[in-house]
């Protein structure tokens, strides 16, 4: 069956540290998106990145579709980065399958 695995499941960082979150998927994807769910529950679109690399401020993402993984980099983390990070992929058709998320806590 379809599998979308994220690692690590939990991460605690000191403010200012860098981190890498990983998303592995079981089949070729035609779409991939990273989301941040903040402590208030809102799902915020970070990157739409079916392939290649994108950067937005302190965040960047890379998807290597041929090797079935995507990475989200967070540099100089801030307490406002806390929350759950989800990877979502679409294989065929028109729905995203979500990973189980990485719960990030940034402590001051």
């Amino acid at each position: 069956g379809i599998q979308v695995e994220q690692s690590p499941p939990d991460l605690i960082l000191q403010e200012g540290a860098n981190s890498t979150l990983r998303c592995n998927f079981s089949d070729s994807v035609n779409n991939l998106q990273w989301f941040h769910q903040n402590p208030w529950g809102q799902l915020i679109n970070l990157f739409y990145i079916p392939s290649g690399t994108k950067q937005n401020g302190r965040l960047s993402a890379t998807t290597v579709a041929t090797e079935r993984y995507s990475l989200l980099y967070i540099s100089s983390s801030q307490t406002t980065d806390s929350g759950v990070y989800f990877c979502a992929v679409s294989f065929t058709g028109n729905q995203f399958y979500f990973g189980t998320g990485t719960s990030l806590t940034v402590i001051p």
Binding site: Q33, G41, L43, Y48, G93, N94, Q95, F98, T100, G101
Partner: protein
């Protein structure tokens, strides 16, 4: 000028009641979705509509009935609410070609007591 708006944000109701959650998007998208997020934060699709037509209907109890009066609106009606229906329900929208991904609403936290 919220892109995807859901109402209500919170809903507390008794078992056995019927309730509705409304969703509207002003992004010009033609596909809308309902997702359920359980207590472990797992997000699973329930329904998807494209131009008012149902295209995805996952294994969901038939007490849940979506309705799309037009491509900018997708409502979710739930009959005979049960304790296990307590969750956060998210509406989302996208272009059918997916070329810029999903946009989510802010969620509706449903608590059945």
């Amino acid at each position: 000028d919220t892109a995807v708006s859901q109402t209500p944000k919170y809903l507390v109701t008794q078992m056995g009641n019927d309730k509705s959650i409304k969703c509207e998007q002003n992004l010009g998208h033609d596909t809308m979705y309902w997702y359920k997020q359980d207590s472990k934060k797992f997000l699973k699709i329930m329904f998807s509509y494209n131009n008012k037509e149902l295209i995805i209907n996952e294994t969901v109890p038939n007490r849940f009935s979506p309705k799309s009066p037009d491509k900018a609106h997708l409502n979710l009606h739930i009959n005979s609410l049960e304790l296990g229906d307590s969750a956060v329900y998210f509406c989302a929208s996208s272009h059918s070609g997916f070329y810029d991904g999903y946009t989510f609403g802010s969620g509706t936290r449903l608590t059945v007591v």
